[in-house]
Symmetry: C2
Subunit: 211 residues, 2 copies
């Protein structure tokens, strides 16, 4: 059974080399736990290392029927045959990425309603909207809040994934905004048991979104 | 009069934001001084900033009839319509870049005869071979030496550009190896007068290569 994009955006797990230096192993455990998408984020690594890790993630996600996104780097996404790329305000503009890579799914990271509307207009396929809560993974990030995410969901037509400080204690509140799914770093990559942490979140998401 | 690739590789000036924070202004002065190619190297910047600076360099180099290369980042090269990309051992493999961007000129940075031979076999259009001398721009870089560069020139058929620690005091010695040209960072970007420093190097290169 092939899942829709919305279903595959239910639980995006983002890599964090500082929290889990063995990125491939952590991704494998997240997939075993039920991550529906993986986003490769390797800010400090060389391009060569990104390609090597990305190729592993490409194979793993394909085996699990999950999507594979790359943060920021369109070149890495193309070279490792990713399903998509996640672009924020400091990355390549959505319109440029769409022109260079018309077959990629483009997720836009937005931190305000204005940025959300603009990203949809530019042709993003979905939004990562946040930060819902302050988060240790990104110091100094703008906090959109639960109400802000809720407003984005009401205004745009494309799927919205909430990001930023989400864990099992607040996931129900977050999902009550009407988002398609959640994206997490610390809640999974900061956990001792990656598989278990992912599986708990997946269960919570499935329960809420079934309604 | 349209210059050949070999002629346009005579003097590659590489940007350095630490030495000259106003990258665009420094590039303009280098072009006024006679740089035949500019290589954008912005390791610490966001992709968005690379694209903004890259678009300026694209226009400037076109106005001066110079080539515009991007270090490492194939996505930035494609998005800013660069002439080519410069790829080292930590970057995307030459063969992958050629597949993704068949129209770009691919320069391979090599630090040994083995790497030089491999890059030529993989389809690189030219080599940046070095480091000729120890250099402040890249700490811990492998030093190939004048004799090593000379050996690379004798073994490969594609153009070889020498890089690493080259300045007006040693440029004649470097050119005696038979290289097509030189690439510099510190000698130009570390100079108080970028235009003058470039112009002196260009004069030296033209004198030697005329013979």
């Amino acid at each position: 059974m092939k899942l829709s994009l919305r279903e595959l955006l239910r639980l995006i797990v983002i890599t964090d080399k500082r929290l889990k230096p063995n990125v491939v192993q952590a991704v494998r455990e997240a997939l075993e736990g039920g991550a529906t998408s993986i986003q490769l984020r390797l800010k400090e690594s060389s391009t060569r290392e990104m390609l090597e890790v990305g190729r592993f993630i490409r194979r793993l996600t394909a085996n699990y029927g999950a999507l594979y996104f790359v943060d920021d780097r369109l070149d890495v996404a193309l070279a490792t045959e990713a399903d998509g790329v996640q672009l924020g305000p400091e990355d390549m503009p959505v319109s440029v990425a769409k022109e260079l890579a018309p077959n990629l799914i483009i997720g836009a990271s937005v931190y305000s309603l204005e940025e959300a509307v603009e990203a949809e207009r530019d042709g993003a396929h979905f939004l990562g909207a946040g930060s819902v809560f302050p988060t240790p993974s990104k110091a100094g990030v703008r906090v959109l809040g639960v109400e802000g995410v809720s407003r984005v969901v009401r205004v745009v037509k494309i799927p919205v994934v909430a990001i930023g400080g989400i864990d099992k204690s607040n996931v129900k509140l977050v999902l009550s905004t009407g988002v398609t799914g959640i994206a997490v770093i610390s809640a999974v990559m900061g956990a001792e048991d990656v598989k278990k942490a992912t599986s708990e979140l997946r269960k919570a998401v499935d329960e809420e979104l079934r309604v």
